[in-house]
Every structure is written in C-alpha cells, then in structure tokens.
Symmetry: C2
C-alpha cells in the first residue's frame, strides 16, 4: 500500500529562487494529506500533477508566513473549481481568524464545509484517525507556537494462510480470532497458533514532519522509531549560534536527533537561502546518521 | 524617459497553469510601482529579474484573492531582506485589517515603515504625486468595491533650443520664463516667443489599469485619451451573459470602451482559464479598436 511524501517546497523563509516555501503532500493508501502550505503551493501541486481536489485534510505547523501564505489561495481555488466535499484544517487557533477575516472582506462564500481544528503545541495529540491511519500533532520548539505532525499506519489484521483454512477446517469464528492474533482450539481440542495459521504481520509504517524547530532531544520520544523523519536543517554547523538564536536546527543536530530517536531514514529540508550547495547538508548529517536524504521540490520519498 | 508596464500575471481567478493571477510592474522614469499582487507575485518578480526592493508604492484594486494573496508574502520578504525604506500600500480599507491580523499572529515585526492609504471606490482621487508623476484611483464596477489606477506623467518644462541662448543672449530669468511656456521681451524690445525658442513640448503620457470591471461607459471619462489602457477581458462575446452576471467584461466590450475613451492602445488581460487560444480575444477586440495588444507573463509594453 502506498505511503509516500512528495516535496512541494523545502526552502526556509527568505526566498531563494532555488526552493519554494514549505509544503508537502503525504500519500497514505492513496489518501492525500497536505502538510504546510507556503505561497505558491497550489502552483506546485499543479506542476507535479497532484490531484489536489482529493485533499481533505490540511495540517499547518505554525503561523510564519512561509508555512501558510498559500492557504487562502488554495481554499479559494477549491471553491472556484466547485469543490463540495468537506475540508478539514488543523493548525494554530489564530489561523481561523486569519482565514475568516480574509474571506469575509473578499466576500468569498465557500460552497463546501470547512472545519477548523485548533491544534495545541503543549502535548502530543491525536488529531484524526480513520480505518488505516492516525495523525498526531507533536510539540516543537520554535519562536512561536509550532507543532510537527506524525502519520502512523494502523496495525492491519493478520492474514490467514489460505491452505490452513481447509487443512484445519477453520470456522468463521476461529478465523476472526486468529486474525486478531489470538490462538484458538480446534474441534478436536488441538491448539491452533495464530503465529502458524497466519502470514507474518506487516509492520505498520510511520512518518514524522518536524519543521520548524531548534534541536530538542525531548522530541525524540514523540517520534521514536519512525520509518522516515523530515527534520528541518535550516543551517550548517558553521551557523550553529544563529540556528540557536532563531530556534532552528543544523543538519548535524537533525541527524543527532534522528539517531537518538532511532529513526530509520532522515530527510533534511527547510534549507536557508544562504547555501547554494546542498550536498554540504548531506555530508554533515551523514557523520551522525547512516541513512540521510535531501529534500528537493518534486521528489517523492517512500516511507518504509 | 522610461514609461512601461511588465505583466507578472494576467489570468482570472481560477488558476489555469497557463497564467498567473493579476500583478504588473509599472516603471515610470525608473521608479517601480506594483499594481495588484496575486499569489506568487514575488516569484514572478524574481523570475523576470525586477529589482523589487525598489518598489515603494503598491496599489491593490480590490479584495478578491487573485489580486492580493501575494501581498503578505511580499511584505515578509521585504522585511527578511532587510528593507528599511518606507512602503506605501494603497487599497480598500479592509486590506489593512487583513495585513494587521496576519502579521500579528505570525509575530512579524517589520523593520521598515508601512503606510497604508485607504482608497475609496466612490470617485476618482489623486493617490500620490511626485515631481514626474501623478497616480489616481478610478472607480470600477465589480461585485465588490474595486478601483482601477491611472498613471499620468507630469507635463515637463520646455527645453530651450541651445543655439537660441547665444543667438539672443538669453538671460537666466528669460530662460526660466520661456521654459514655462511664457513669451518674453529681449533687451532690445524684441518679442521672443516660447514656441520659437523652445523644442516642441513632449506630450505627457498616461497608463490606465482597469481590472476587474463590467462594461461601464462612464469609465471612459476617467481614462479619456490615455496612451495605453489595460482593460480586463475575462470572457469572449459567447459568454457575454456570464460576463454581465459576474461583473466582468468581454474582449469586445473592452475594445468598445477603449474606442469611446479614444485610447491609443488597448492591452487585454485577466483571461478566464476556460480559453486556451488567446488570439480569439485579439480577433474579437480588433473589430472595435484598431490597436490591440494581448498581455502575457513576462511581456513589457511601452506607454507612448
């Protein structure tokens, strides 16, 4: 089943011409979730041919403009294109006021329902779930209230090995229990072990988006053992003081955090426009984590 | 002296991938004026290498998103790039609230002064002037309060023909009067005519931006005999009913208005995304006006 992340923008606040401001599309089992929405995100979605009317949930990390200035335009476009399905937006409480004031004065009346879910930055919270997925907010440490987002695939029921059904004449009730992972007894009083009757369990995958934040070890607990971690790396170590002052991270700090959190893969992004050669971010992070990737507009990364 | 218009966006509200939302840069004697600022305008300015820190005056026609959603991002970028010079913004009164709410919640503190000038849509008004230029607002007729903008070069002083200075031994005082267009007397009592002593007067040029508006003949008086008129042409005549209903114009209506206003050149823009072949706009308008141009992103049009 699909679980992937497409980068729409991975630049920091000051535009560079090289990168777009923050935005990415998370695809979980062909459901699309937009994470952050910097200016121009709708153009990026069009450029990369993402079917953005299929987005029903948008997550905004914080209210610095490079993470949400594309949102009013995207909502307007949804409306102009005749959207009818409900749109859920998760973000800092004040985002609702910004959206309301903007649309009030432009006399824009949406034809679809827009449900706003205020997100607190105080503790990890379950924001939404459906049959296959849970999405959590994760507190980050930035200049203004800011959260990351954690996408966790739900544990799927076990699959019975087909040949076992006839071999042991499994009843529907026995199958239901075995799929839950419970051992059962056969009619003859023989123990039937779930581990033998079923295929090995597929591991549930997880993806964490952490931008913007300073280096903060406490974060590791909230994203422990995620398969893929997008962690901001605004600066290199040469600018470590500046990173601290502006509540951002260096590539090395991102890698250290990923190692403490036992993250399988680390994806770096939110690059400052002062750097022209992005491979320095990779070189630096590889000294502290074995599996590092560099974000870039249009790239899609598999979670697994 | 330079007087030209560079198109940054000339599409209507629904994005097409073909055009950007409304924005254009007016260059009058190397001073840059931004007119409207749809989403992505700062990226367009960068793409066309316009030195946008030189923009000190921004004019917003109305509060439909495709005309101003790029403004918060542009202001933020000005600030991030260390701008210090004052920025003047002219637009509907409610624009100030939108800007204030947005920056309040993002805790953005600008290092430069931002002066907001509320614009009424009730009558033509002088918004600003300097030694070479006057800018007026012009009432338009749209679904929400909306104004166009008129850029008028000031009448320049006459230039004395150099050879006349020695020939008639003109004194500084005589030169000052002649430059104003006044005739003077020589020391010998001979009348010296400004028309003979001076080069022919260069005609002051003018540019009018009219988007968005329905066909409205009263507008002609406010833009009478402008050299270049940008008039919206969202639709073709086949969609005339729709144009009326949405308070937009057809290409033919734009041309009729330009003819009534005795406009030298007509520049069409604000094209609906439903049309793929823009030459239909040209064909239609040419039936009612002799000199028609089609806007497109990146094109620069001379005013004269």
């Amino acid at each position: 089943m699909t679980f992937e992340v497409t980068i729409l923008g991975c630049g920091a606040a000051t535009p560079s011409g090289r990168h777009n401001p923050s935005a990415q599309m998370v695809n979980v089992h062909d459901k699309l979730f937009l994470v952050d929405c910097g200016e121009g995100t709708q153009m990026q979605m069009r450029k990369y041919r993402l079917r953005f009317q299929r987005v029903n949930h948008i997550f905004i990390s914080h209210l610095h403009g490079d993470h949400f200035f594309g949102l009013p335009g995207l909502i307007s476009t949804f409306s102009l294109l005749g959207r009818q399905s409900k749109l859920h937006i998760y973000g800092p409480p004040a985002l609702k006021e910004i959206i309301d004031v903007t649309f009030q004065h432009s006399e824009t009346y949406l034809e679809f329902a827009l449900e706003f879910h205020p997100v607190s930055d105080k503790k990890k919270m379950l924001l939404m779930e459906d049959e296959t997925l849970e999405v959590y907010s994760i507190p980050l440490k930035h200049r203004i209230p800011c959260t990351g987002f954690l996408f966790v695939e739900k544990q799927k029921p076990l699959k019975i090995k087909k040949e076992k059904i006839s071999e042991y004449r499994l009843t529907p009730l026995q199958i239901i229990e075995l799929k839950k992972g419970n051992d059962v007894m056969s009619a003859a009083g023989q123990p039937l072990l779930a581990a033998e009757m079923c295929m090995p369990r597929e591991k549930a995958r997880s993806y964490a988006y952490c931008s913007d934040t300073m280096y903060w070890e406490k974060l590791a607990a909230d994203i422990f053992q995620v398969n893929l971690l997008y962690h901001e790396a605004t600066f290199l170590t040469t600018e470590e003081e500046r990173a601290k002052k502006t509540f951002h991270s260096t590539a090395l700090q991102a890698a250290k955090l990923a190692t403490i959190a036992e993250t399988k893969q680390l994806l770096l992004g939110h690059f400052s426009s002062r750097y022209t050669h992005q491979h320095h971010f990779l070189d630096e992070a590889l000294t502290a984590h074995a599996n590092v990737l560099l974000a870039d507009e249009g790239l899609t990364f598999q979670v697994g």
